[in-house]
Symmetry: C2
Subunit: 408 residues, 2 copies
C-alpha cells in the first residue's frame, strides 16, 4: 500500500458535476488500495470573485485580511469534496491548512512554507480517511492564516508529498500534460511523456502555465516525482522527474512563451559602481520580481539599465524606479508593456553549438524583431513585441520539430 | 472608556454598500472612545447558497464538513468588514471563532459554547484594534470547527459580552426593535422601549424572530443588558434587561406568532406508566426539540399523546415515532403540518385573572378554532390553523391594545 498525494485545480472542481467526477477518481484510487491525501484549489472563479468583492470595499485591501478572505475558497471546495466522498460511502475528512499543520513565514499573499507538522493528517489516514486538504494556505507563528501566492495549491501538494514520503505527487489540471508548445497556438504540438525538473521549471517559469514553478523547484530539491495529467481523462500525462541518463539528454523539449512581460528602461545613467544596487534593492524590498536584466556599458561613462517585470507589477515598479532614476541622475525612465517572451528549452543545448543561431534565424525569417536576449543553461529567451508572439512560437516549433520527434 | 460588543446580522452586511454603512457605525462608536468588539453573520443569502451547494452533492451532507463549510460565510464577512475599516483609516483585525478563543462541545450544527479564552481578543484590543469576530462558530476539543445553530451569531455576541465584561451587547438587525406584534401583520403595533429577559424569551421563542432565544437566555443568566436596534437608523431600539420593579411589571407586552409548527398525534395508546418516556426519549436522542405536549387521559385506559415540533423536523420525528407507536400498541400515528402558534406574552399575567379568558374570547369572536392550549408563567399560547394566524394576531393585538399603551 503506498501513499499518493493528488492535487485538483480550480477548473477540476468548478461545479457539482466536476466535484463528483473528482470524488470518483479519488474513490477509484482508494479501491486500488492507496492511501490518499488530496489538495484542492478554490472552485472555478471563486478567488477572483472574492478579490473583486474586496476591491469594492478597499482600494488596497489589507493583506492579512485578504489572505483570510481568499483562504475560504479552498476551505469550501475541500469540505464539498469530502462530503461528496462520504455520500459515496468512502471515509473522508477535510482539513484546513492550519489543521494540516502547514506553517509558513509571515509574508502575507506570498508566504513560504517553513514546516509541516503531519500529525493530524497521519491520524486521519490511520482512521482510514481520504484526507482532503485546503490548498494555497497555511498559518504563521501567530496562528494567522497566510496564503502561498500564485499556484499555491501545487506547492501545498508537493510539500505534503515530501513530508509524507508519497511515492508520487499527481497534479490534475485541465490539460493533458506538458506539450512541446502551447497546443492552442501550435496544433501539431506533441505531449511530452517525461521531462526533467529543470526543463519543466524553464517551461513553467516561461509560461507553459501547467504548474507553479515553485512547486517544481520544491519537487526537484527533494526528488519527488510529479505527474501532471488531466482530471477529465485517463491518459498518463507527463512525469516530471530526474532525467534518466546524464548524457542522452534531450536537446529542445519545448517552446515556452509568456505574455505577462513589461520592460522598464533607466536611460542615461552616469556609469559608476553601485548603480545597479540602487535600482534593484528597493524593488526587492517591495517584493517585485525582476526577470531579465541588461546593462549596456555605454560611451562617455553613460549607461542604460533595462529590465523586465510582470505587467501587473509595472505601476508599482515605476513608482519606485522613477525617484531612484532622478536621484542617480538618469536622463529618463521609460516603460513598454506590449512585450512577450518566447523561449526554447532543453537540457544539453549549451554543449551543442548552433541552437541560438537557429533560433534567431527562425525569428528573422518571420521578420520578428528581438528586443532583448537572455540565456540560462537550458534555455534561450528572446523578448519580442507581443503581437508577434504566436508567429514566433509557431516558427520555433517548426524549426525544432525534428528534436521533439527524437525525444518521443 | 467602556467596551461594547456589537453584532450585525446577515442583512446588515448583505452587500458592499451595507458593509460600508456598518463600518461607518463602528467608526463612530470608536470616535466616541469605546473599545469595540464586533460579531458578524454571513452576508445575505450566503449560508443558504452554501447549503444548497452541499445538497447538490450529498443528500445528507456530513455534519462535520457542513460546519466547516458554513463557517466560511462568517469568515468572509468579518474580513471584508475589517478591511473596510482599515481602508477608512481605523485599526481593525478580523478573528475566526478559533482565534477568538470560542470553544464548544462536539455537537456539530448546534454546538454549545463551553468556554471562551479571550487572550487574543484582549491582545488585539490592547493594540487599539476594532476586533471583528466571525460569528456562529467555534472549535471543539479536536480543534475542528463547529457551528452554533440558528441565531448562532447572537449567541457569540452575548457570550463575548459576558466574557469581556462589556457594558452592553448591541444586536443590530433589520428591524427597529421589539414590537407589540409583527408590524407586517399589525401596522399599528408599537415598539417596546424596554422588556424583561423572560418576556423577550417568550416573544423570541414564539416567533418574534428579532433575536435568538439562546442568546437572550445567556444574557439573562449573566445579567448582560442587550440592545436590539436597526443597523440602518439611529433609533435607540429596545433594551432587554432586568425588569426595573418587581410589582409594576407589564401585563401583556406583546403578541407573538410562529408558523413553523407541526403536530404529531399518537392515538389510542394503552395508558400505563412509561408511555411518554418511550415516545420522547428517542426524539431527544435524535436531537428533535419537542414543544407543546398534551396527554389526554382517556376512558378505558386508552390515551392520546399529542405534541408539536418544528415543521422541518416532522419527517425525522415521524420516522422515529411510527415504530415506537407500533411497539407500544398505539392505534395510529398522524401528523398535521398546517398549524401555527399565537401567544400573548407578559409578566404578571398569572396573578391577574382573566387574561386567558380574554384571549379565548378574542379568538372565538373571529371564529378561530383552537387545537391546543399551553401556558407558562408569562405566556398563553394557542395552536390554531395556519391560515388564520394573521387574523388571530390582529384580533389579539386589538384586544390587548390598552395594555401596550400603559406600557409605553
Amino acid at each position: 500500500m503506498s501513499l499518493v498525494v493528488q492535487k485538483y485545480g480550480g477548473s477540476s472542481v468548478a461545479n457539482a458535476d466536476r466535484i463528483r467526477n473528482v470524488a470518483s477518481r479519488i474513490a477509484r484510487g482508494r479501491d486500488a488500495g492507496n492511501d490518499t491525501v488530496v489538495v484542492v484549489s478554490a472552485m472555478g472563479d471563486t478567488t477572483d470573485d472574492l478579490i473583486s468583492l474586496a476591491h469594492q470595499l478597499a482600494e488596497r485591501p489589507d493583506e492579512r485580511e485578504m489572505d483570510v478572505l481568499l483562504s475560504t475558497g479552498e476551505i469550501v471546495s475541500s469540505t464539498l469534496l469530502a462530503m461528496t466522498l462520504k455520500a459515496m460511502g468512502h471515509n473522508a475528512v477535510s482539513l484546513t491548512g492550519l489543521q494540516a499543520g502547514i506553517r509558513t513565514d509571515t509574508q502575507y499573499s506570498r508566504a513560504r512554507i517553513t514546516s509541516i507538522d503531519p500529525e493530524r493528517i497521519l491520524q486521519e489516514i490511520g482512521k482510514g480517511n481520504a484526507v482532503i486538504v485546503a490548498g494555497f494556505q497555511g498559518v504563521n507563528s501567530q496562528m494567522d492564516t497566510t496564503t502561498l501566492g500564485r499556484g499555491g495549491s501545487d506547492t501545498t501538494a508537493v510539500a505534503l508529498a515530501i513530508c509524507l514520503g508519497a511515492s508520487v505527487c499527481e497534479i490534475y489540471t485541465d490539460v493533458e500534460g506538458v506539450f512541446s508548445a502551447d497546443p492552442r497556438i501550435v496544433p501539431e504540438a506533441m505531449k511530452v511523456d517525461t521531462i526533467g525538473y529543470e526543463e519543466m521549471l524553464e517551461l513553467a517559469t516561461y509560461g507553459a502555465s501547467v504548474m507553479a514553478p515553485r512547486a517544481v523547484e520544491l519537487g526537484q530539491a527533494y526528488g519527488v516525482p510529479i505527474r501532471v495529467a488531466s482530471s477529465s481523462s485517463d491518459s498518463v500525462g507527463t512525469l516530471i522527474c530526474k532525467e534518466g541518463s546524464m548524457e542522452l539528454r534531450n536537446k529542445v523539449s519545448g517552446i515556452a512563451h509568456d505574455t505577462n512581460v513589461a520592460k522598464i528602461m533607466v536611460i542615461g545613467v552616469p556609469d559608476k559602481p553601485g548603480i545597479a544596487r540602487e535600482v534593484f534593492e528597493p524593488l526587492a524590498r517591495a517584493n517585485i520580481s525582476v526577470d531579465t536584466i541588461v546593462q549596456n556599458a555605454g560611451i562617455d561613462n553613460i549607461t542604460d539599465i533595462t529590465f523586465t517585470v510582470a505587467r501587473t507589477d509595472v505601476v508599482k515598479a515605476l513608482s519606485i524606479v522613477e525617484p531612484v532614476g532622478r536621484s542617480i541622475g538618469a536622463a529618463r525612465v521609460t516603460s513598454d508593456e506590449s512585450l512577450s517572451k518566447v523561449s526554447i528549452v532543453g537540457t544539453g543545448m549549451q554543449n551543442t553549438p548552433g541552437y541560438a543561431a537557429r533560433m534567431f534565424r527562425a525569428l528573422a525569417e518571420e521578420d520578428i524583431n528581438i528586443h532583448l536576449i537572455t540565456t540560462s543553461e537550458i534555455r534561450i529567451t528572446c523578448i519580442i513585441q507581443e503581437e508577434r508572439v504566436k508567429d514566433a512560437v509557431r516558427a520555433l516549433h517548426k524549426a525544432f520539430e525534428v528534436e521533439f520527434r527524437q525525444k518521443q
